[in-house]
């Protein structure tokens, strides 16, 4: 694969330039490599967004096109659909790296695996969570979401999906060595998503009713802070298990 060869020789060069090869260099290299690889496989970035749109289309067809009814359930629908879309994209988070062996190289680097994994998760959020958050208000219009809650919908999704990526990456790391880990991955990860869903959808509801949304957003931020500290350690441990097994 030309992509991985390119990044490999790049890493060699980086090592030559900076013999003490700092952590920042490694993290930056991982970030750049993952961004380039994902942007080359554009369908992997676009598919979750298309999935999001299709699922949102199903609800008016399945339930009722009545705007009043849709408006009442729109915050929950948008959040659940975005959560499922993010979940679907998780399986490929470590899959390609596992198949071509670059994950093993990542394990062998002297830099802490947790931080390199964090860089990979950051790219995943940047190309899945953030686009979903940007797209959600558009779908909100289609579900007759009451005005005044669009910004909060986007912000809560952007904040919440970062936690979703971090927590989901633990599941992805645990199941990457299994040939059919997809369904198992959702079984492991979905229960852990519930707090994020509660406060994310709650923020949008609060915005609709005119309550204070800051409490919800603050808790989403707290969940993200906790996930930022603990999840990379669990991801690193899980990757080690998957590679050695």
């Amino acid at each position: 694969m030309p992509a991985s060869e390119g990044s490999l020789s790049e890493e060699v060069e980086v090592a030559r330039e900076e013999p003490r090869g700092g952590l920042a260099v490694a993290v930056w290299a991982t970030l750049k490599r993952d961004l380039v690889l994902l942007l080359r496989r554009r369908s992997e970035v676009l598919n979750p967004l298309v999935f999001f749109a299709i699922v949102i289309t199903l609800f008016p067809i399945g339930i009722s096109p009545d705007p009043a009814l849709l408006a009442a359930i729109a915050p929950g629908l948008l959040w659940v659909a975005a959560l499922l879309a993010a979940l679907l994209s998780l399986d490929s988070l470590f899959r390609a790296d596992y198949d071509d062996g670059s994950l093993e190289q990542l394990l062998l680097t002297p830099q802490p695996l947790a931080l390199l994994a964090l860089a990979k998760v950051a790219v995943h959020w940047l190309l899945t969570g953030l686009p979903l958050a940007l797209m959600a208000p558009v779908l909100g219009i289609m579900l007759a979401l009451p005005a005044g809650s669009y910004v909060i919908l986007g912000v809560s999704l952007a904040l919440g999906s970062a936690s979703l990526s971090l927590i989901g990456a633990i599941g992805a790391a645990l199941t990457v060595g299994l040939s059919r880990g997809g369904v198992l991955l959702s079984l492991l990860v979905l229960p852990l998503y519930i707090p994020v869903l509660i406060f994310g959808a709650g923020a949008v509801q609060a915005a609709i009713y005119g309550d204070g949304v800051l409490a919800h957003l603050a808790i989403l931020g707290a969940l993200l802070a906790l996930a930022l500290i603990l999840a990379p350690l669990a991801i690193a441990a899980s990757l080690r298990i998957s590679i050695n097994g």
């Binding site: 079984l187 492991l188 808790i219 669990a234 097994g245």
Partner: protein, 246 residues
């Protein structure tokens, strides 16, 4: 201290010591559960609001206690296994997970049955029922993950990590679900605070809780022993044991 920990590492030693402990826990479980059941179902006074239907509490609460304790035990044994590589810990975790899932189901089912006379419906999206349901999903995840790996060592370590991740999340899930919605009465049973119910109702409940815990310990010892025999079946001491039995 180290000598003791080293002894703990040996499945053979555990097999011997658990054989001596096991009958005591079975006896305690039998006596406590029989006493608690008879006392709770026949002699405890009926609730002035709920009548006799409150007696479901004598199954519901101990099962819910065990459901939560067993998940914590899974995480603790997982940590012990990951840090000290004590195989017994993982064997215990293997056999505890299905029991924990079963207890969660019992708590959910008895809660649903209790819901019919008190709430008039089998299921309410009430905070505590919902977090119990999520706990059941967490159990099923741990069991499924353990079953998915071909290599036993990977399966054990993966299940340990997931149990630890789950146990960090349980309080978060619990409080967020509480925030989300609550219909349920506040906690009925506290060890430290003053009991919210009269002594005649509370004592049988305490006996039932202790009985359920004894049952859990006895069953875990017994099933861990069979797990030891299964995993160590190629070891000499197990073969000698089998030959003696024949």
């Amino acid at each position: 201290m180290w000598a003791f920990i080293n002894k703990l590492r040996s499945p053979k030693w555990f097999y011997a010591i658990s054989a001596r402990l096991q009958p005591w826990f079975w006896a305690a479980a039998l006596i406590l559960i029989v006493t608690g059941t008879i006392w709770g179902l026949a002699f405890a006074p009926a609730d002035y609001q709920q009548g006799n239907s409150f007696r479901i509490i004598y199954v519901h609460v101990p099962a819910a206690f065990l459901a939560q304790s067993i998940f914590v035990s899974l995480a603790v044994t997982g940590l012990v296994f990951m840090v000290w590589k004590i195989k017994i810990a993982d064997m215990a975790a293997t056999v505890m997970a299905p029991l924990g899932a079963a207890m969660t189901f019992v708590a959910l089912f008895s809660g649903a049955v209790w819901g019919v006379p008190t709430w008039g419906t089998w299921w309410m999206w009430d905070a505590r029922l919902t977090s119990m349901l999520i706990l059941l999903f967490l159990y099923l995840g741990v069991i499924a993950l353990r079953g998915a790996f071909a290599s036993r060592d990977s399966a054990s370590r993966a299940a340990s990590v997931l149990a630890m991740v789950g146990v960090i999340n349980i309080p978060i899930i619990k409080y967020s679900v509480d925030w989300w919605y609550t219909l349920h009465q506040p906690a009925t049973f506290t060890v430290t605070g003053r009991a919210a119910m009269p002594m005649e109702m509370w004592l049988p409940l305490l006996i039932m809780v202790l009985g359920f815990y004894s049952f859990f310990i006895a069953l875990t010892l017994m099933r861990t022993r069979s797990e030891i025999l299964r995993r160590e079946s190629s070891k000499r001491w197990v073969r000698e044991l089998a030959e003696e039995a024949n």
